[in-house]
């Protein structure tokens, strides 16, 4: 097995041991982080799918009305009507953090609906398009919050999994192997020196005739 090429000394053995226990703590912490992230993803997942479908449906209905308005009034009239309108939407985005992931909190302030263009020259269809799009605005805000939060959580989960894998399949085995080989070599050395000591003692004893 691979091991780090560092001198076989007692101090190195201690250092590697410390780093190994740090790595194991880290692995455990990351694993907890992963669990929390996945928990939160599960909370958001169903909602994200539901809100996404809601928005798609709402927009498609609005486009349907748009097509009718186009047929009825023609493009240039629609464009002219569009120039005069301003919905004055005000989006507020706050942020909160979950395990270092920044999750957006979105709200939209929509002023009350009032006719913006003159009654002459616009049609029911145009108003209908406008009404449908504006009703979808809250869904847009909700979706922005949920979908983007979810996307960021997933990215963080991916990164966390990568780190966990690196720790548990590369870093930790490498350090374990290194520690083991250093400890074995140290023991070997110790036995050697003990043996030598005994021999020296034996010789010395004979020489002195004790």
């Amino acid at each position: 097995m691979e091991r780090l090429l560092i001198p076989v000394t007692k101090s190195n053995a201690i250092r590697i041991k410390d780093e190994l226990s740090l790595a194991k703590d880290g692995e455990q912490l990351l694993d907890q982080k992963k669990d929390i992230l996945i928990n939160h993803i599960n909370l958001l997942a169903g909602k994200a799918d539901r809100v996404r479908k809601q928005l798609d449906d709402a927009l498609l209905a609005a486009y349907d009305q748009l097509k009718r308005a186009l047929i009825e009034s023609g493009r240039s009239q629609l464009e002219a009507a569009g120039l005069a309108v301003d919905a004055n939407l005000d989006v507020t985005i706050r942020e909160r953090s979950l395990m270092g992931v920044v999750l957006p909190l979105v709200s939209v302030n929509r002023p009350r609906l009032r006719p913006e263009y003159g009654l002459a020259g616009t049609t029911k269809q145009m108003d209908e398009v406008r009404h449908r799009i504006l009703s979808a605005v809250e869904t847009i805000a909700e979706l922005a919050e949920v979908e983007i939060g979810l996307q960021r959580l997933m990215e963080e989960t991916k990164r966390t999994l990568k780190r966990i894998n690196a720790l548990s399949y590369i870093y930790i085995p490498l350090y374990e192997a290194t520690l083991k080989s250093i400890q074995e070599r140290l023991e070997e050395k110790e036995r050697e020196s003990l043996f030598q000591l005994k021999r020296v003692k034996g010789k010395a004893g004979k020489g002195l005739g004790v």
């Binding site: 748009l66 629609l78 309108v85 005000d90 979105v106 406008r130 799009i133 983007i148 999994l161």
Partner: protein, 99 residues
């Protein structure tokens, strides 16, 4: 902050009628530049972009959605309807965990 929509001229018309600011993009090649421009405006809260243009913007889309906190980038269908079926959240998660 504001909401704007980056869309083909037809889809843009719908948002324009509702009084939401739009950046109409007639040619797909312009999508990336327009998106970049929109993302750099400081008062931008949410940018809606049609699926087709999001694909066309390619790398720029990835950059804005992954590397910035704001604006929040949301894909919307255009007047021709949703192009493709999206992966549900659960399917995306399964793909991440499988690797």
């Amino acid at each position: 902050m504001k909401i704007i929509a980056i869309a083909d001229p037809d889809t843009a018309l719908a948002f324009r009628l509702a009084g939401i600011e739009t950046l109409p993009v007639a040619r797909k090649e312009e999508a990336a530049a327009v998106l970049k421009q929109a993302a750099e405006r400081p008062d931008m809260g949410i940018v809606l972009i049609t699926q087709g243009l999001a694909r066309a913007a390619g790398k720029q889309f990835e950059e804005v959605s992954h590397e910035r906190h704001l604006p929040l980038l949301i894909e919307i269908p255009d007047t021709r309807g949703p192009i493709e079926k999206r992966l549900s959240a659960a399917e995306k998660m399964a793909a991440i965990l499988r690797r």
